[in-house]
Amino acid sequence: MERDSYSHQNTEKELRVRKIKDGTVIDHITPGNALNVLKIVGITGKEGMIISIAMNVPSKKAGLKDVVKVENRELDPEQINRIALISPNATINIIRDYEVIAKDKVSLKDQIQDVIKCLNPNCITNGNEPVKSLFRIIQTNPIYIRCEYCDRIMEYDDIVKQF
């Protein structure tokens, strides 16, 4: 495991959001999407832990980015990977004692269940039945998914506007 002290970021003086001791940092979020990312992961803020959000900050890689830091919570990979639906380039850093002990890019498996609704009002998943939405991931970047029940295709805008 690499020991990374955010060396790729700006100096301490220039950091808009301070380093956290323990928790999860979600970095390289598509600019403007931080709030959607929190929604998709299921964090409302009412849980009580400290959450820091920086939006539209400079990024060497992509010009601009959003960053979210959630203290004292190591988010579960299954929750985290949903972020790939709206921010395919996001990275997850698990922090312990100010050090990055794990760092991964978000990734999607072949299918995603229950996180988003099918846009087709005529889809069985939007009816009165005990069935969860289920999508096949056809392409990750740009995102292109297909409902396993009605074949409806959904892209980035269709997904983001649900949040």
């Binding site: 005529n122 009816g127 009165n128 029940y149 009605c150 074949d151 295709i153």
Partner: protein, 315 residues
């Protein structure tokens, strides 16, 4: 050809069937011709439930006929205002109940994906009789049978035009996917507003099926082996004037066939309204009514395969 075992299999989408499986089903369907004429008790003691939440004449009667031809029984719920539904029962509960009354269920429901979901929860096979706007697997199979039987016993090498409402019509779409298993050239003929969904065209291209899209059938007519007409529904057009403009152009008339191949066949899933002139009915090209006969053979085959597996002998 090996005998394949379809015991308990659901029939949800034509895309779930391989070339080998389709060829086998068509083979068994042809073997059903003798049973159709002579009678049979192959499915004696078996019960089929037909759940049609949307209207149907041909499909429902075809399944009923197929079942009776093989000495099976049918319980039909064909009234969409079924009392349990009016009382608020959902489809899941309906299937959970009906699976105790029948050995297989034929389902037509307006919600897309309804058959697929029901196949995940039902203990008995579900046969999709055309739910939503996308799938009609048994229609596609009987269409294949018609093509194969009416043109020299093979589908490979043919040039097939599918015309009319390709956007909302489930038969054209299902047939296109069915034909993608064979070595064919496809021509999609439709008004621009009713073009085949782009993802279907894209799927076909990925499968290396040559596809041409056009508004006009005439440039291709002399090369075609099959013309499959589908009905254009007025209600699909937001602007009635648009419909009036295209109405006349998607109509097959006898004079259009002057340069057609001798062996050309004309098909239609029915009901036919204006798309095919009545004067074509008596020509050698017209196969749309015989299609319904093949539909019974096909459904006899499918029901036997699903309810008996490989435990039957037609010799």
């Amino acid at each position: 050809m090996d005998v394949l075992n379809f015991l308990g299999r659901h029939v949800i989408s034509i895309k779930d069937f391989s070339r080998e499986e389709l060829d086998f089903i068509l083979k068994v369907a042809n073997q059903m011709e003798r049973l159709y004429k002579e009678g049979s008790n192959l499915l004696k003691g078996k019960i089929l439930a037909t759940l049609f939440f949307e209207p149907s004449t041909r499909t429902r009667l075809s399944f009923v006929s197929a079942m009776y031809k093989l000495d099976g029984e049918v319980i039909s719920l064909s009234n969409p205002e079924m009392s349990s539904i009016v009382k608020g029962e959902n489809l899941t509960d309906t299937i959970a109940t009906v699976q105790n009354y029948a050995d297989a269920i034929v389902l037509r429901h307006k919600l897309e994906g309804s058959s697929k979901f029901m196949s995940e929860i039902s203990r008995v096979p579900i046969i999709n009789a055309g739910s939503g706007t996308k799938e009609h697997p048994t229609q596609a199979m009987l269409d294949l049978l018609t093509i194969q039987n009416e043109i020299n016993g093979k589908i490979d090498g043919l040039k097939i035009a599918i015309a009319g409402d390709l956007k909302y019509g489930r038969t054209g779409r299902s047939l296109a996917y069915a034909l993608s298993n064979y070595d064919v050239n496809l021509y999609f003929i439709s008004p621009p507003l009713l073009r085949m969904q782009p993802e279907v065209v894209s799927d076909l291209q990925k499968l290396k099926v040559p596809v041409q899209e056009s508004e006009d059938i005439m440039p291709f007519i002399k090369d075609l082996d099959v013309i499959y007409m589908t009905r254009i529904q007025k209600e699909r057009f937001p602007d009635p004037a648009e419909y009036e403009k295209v109405k006349g152009t998607y109509r097959l008339s006898l004079d259009m066939l002057n340069d057609a191949k001798d062996e050309l066949i004309i098909m239609h899933p029915l009901p036919r309204v204006e798309e095919i002139d009545y004067e074509i009915d008596k020509t050698k090209y017209a196969k749309y009514f015989k299609q319904t006969y093949y539909g019974v053979l096909l459904r006899m085959a499918l029901l036997t395969l699903i309810l008996k597996g490989d435990n039957f002998d037609l010799q």
